[in-house]
């Protein structure tokens, strides 16, 4: 005889897992964006491949006067050669930009920081007060450059249509366990109900009563 506690536990476990799955898909869903603020001071650029971190759109916003440009990585590397800059290497575990400060050396032919818009390497560019740029489908060979004052803050935001990878398995598995446990309980109850039916009890009595004849 199976104790009722077993199917009850299965159903309860399923319920808990399903609830956890739902929570992961809703309240605890991972952010649909990653990124955050970084200092340009005065030049910031993304390392190769970083712009295509999520494969989705990237927004670059600058607080204050500045310049934002999108270019091919190799051309931007030539443009920034010898210029001190902050390089965005990716996104850390805290999902904030992971940066490295790169020292500069002797300036080149022209100080590119003075007027970055002068170069004709930009595929997209914005300059002025609080410039911003949205790169809809960044390629792995594209790089963003920001030139801004030392007090300016640069915010890089990658769109990320992410769901918790365990959420759907938990939800589906939980629902299955809940259904299994519930069905199990129903089956046990039916069996018990059949056992306790009056007709069967009368039959046993009748048989008992017939016995002494």
């Amino acid at each position: 005889m199976v104790p009722r506690v077993v199917p009850t536990a299965v159903a309860a476990l399923g319920l808990v897992l399903a609830v956890v799955g739902v929570v992961m898909l809703t309240v605890q869903a991972p952010s649909q964006q990653v990124g955050g603020a970084a200092q340009a001071a005065p030049v910031l650029l993304t390392a190769p491949g970083v712009l295509a971190l999520t494969g989705e759109a990237v927004a670059v916003d600058v607080s204050g006067d500045g310049f934002v440009g999108l270019g091919r990585t190799d051309e931007v590397a030539r443009w920034a050669d010898g210029v001190a800059h902050t390089r965005v290497d990716g996104v850390g575990e805290d999902l904030e930009p992971d940066t490295t400060v790169v020292d500069g050396d002797a300036p080149g032919l022209v100080d590119p920081v003075a007027d970055p818009g002068l170069a004709d390497i930009w595929l997209q560019e914005q300059a002025g007060a609080s410039p911003s740029l949205v790169v809809q489908a960044p390629g792995p060979d594209q790089t963003v450059v920001v030139v801004a004052g030392s007090t300016a803050s640069v915010t890089l935001t990658w769109q990320r249509p992410a769901t918790h990878p365990g959420a759907w398995p938990l939800l589906v598995g939980g629902v299955l366990l809940l259904v299994l446990g519930t069905a199990w309980l129903v089956a046990l109850n039916r069996r018990r109900t059949r056992r306790d039916r009056p007709g069967r009890r009368d039959g046993r009595v009748a048989a008992t009563a017939r016995g002494p004849r």
């Binding site: 476990l13 971190l53 051309e75 002068l118 170069a119 792995p140 769901t163 990878p165 365990g166 398995p169």
Partner: protein
Amino acid sequence: MSRPPWSARLLGPVVLLGVVLAGCAAPPTVDPAAPAEATVAAPSVLPGQAAQVRREVAARLQAARGAGEVDLVEQTAVGPAAALELLRLDVDGPQPAALALDDGSVAVLVGPRTDGWPRWFAAVTDPAAGAAGPAASVPPDEPPDERSDEPSDEPSAVSGPGGELPVLELYDSADVRSPYRLGGRMTLRPGAELPAFPDARAGAVSLADGTAAEPAASDDDADQDGDAAEDGSDDATGPGDTAELEAVLAGLADGYASVLTEGDASPAAAEFEPDPFVEGVLARAEAERAAVAGVADTTVTHAPFGDDPVLYAVEGVEGDVLAVTAVETVTTMTVQPGAGVLQPGAEVREVVGIESTDGTLTTRSVAALAFVVPAERGAIRLVAVGEGLVAADAT
């Protein structure tokens, strides 16, 4: 001790399954995408960039003309275009009402494949589209699905409603931190046909960029200028043809200067298709000589302009090469003693600032010339010319 029922034994795996599923629930991570390894150099410019460059150059040139600043002109134009602009500045001074260049639609955009500097690109205007502002038909800058050498569907040359001819514009960028400058503007000859070029987003093979005395002669240039052997198997010119082609290009300006000087008597005459421009230059020189006969002795010389025999050259899909060079013409008229005076024409008079001279009158003009060198190395044909007076002096 009795064995537990099967359903009770199932409880353990079920709980384990739940734990495993929960274990799958690690937070998602993000890693940088690996940059794609470029197997073929990108074109010097993409269509959207080219439109932006043309707008900016037009605006800067208009500002330079308006301000009358030599420095601004030199930052905006180079080569024959700079020589022509500087003369206009010298003669006219600041022109606040100067019109901007037409930065409208382009019918053909040729961006040579390169991963270095200096770099250049050419645009053929589309007068049929009118001067309706920036080209609405400029394709987006996304690279094509496959880098293809299939010719684009764009027409090679079109005429405007009033018979206005397309203009071949050249833009040159010296280094990565410098903007493009206008290198020349040449009007296509009536009926001229340009080679078919690969899609502008794929780029064409560059054979000369105006920096090397011998086109693509240095190791660096061999790498970055997209020589046929280096740049993939889809190039029309094979390695065996390269030396011959380089020789043809290297002799282009000298040969054409010789034809302009001697006409059919030139040893280079057979290399070029007969064209009305040569006939016009020869006829003009003869007319000038005749006009001052008995008063002045006239000499006319034609020679390559600048240090480079070929300013720019790029290969089309079928192996035809578009090559741009420039020729300088110096005309010297020396008045014979006591024979009278020379009265320059209106344009020259405007430059020299005198009505007549009894000494020597020297004029210099420059012609930017675009040629097509056929793949089969037949006669070279002139397809576009942009000429003008760049200096005049009277003593």
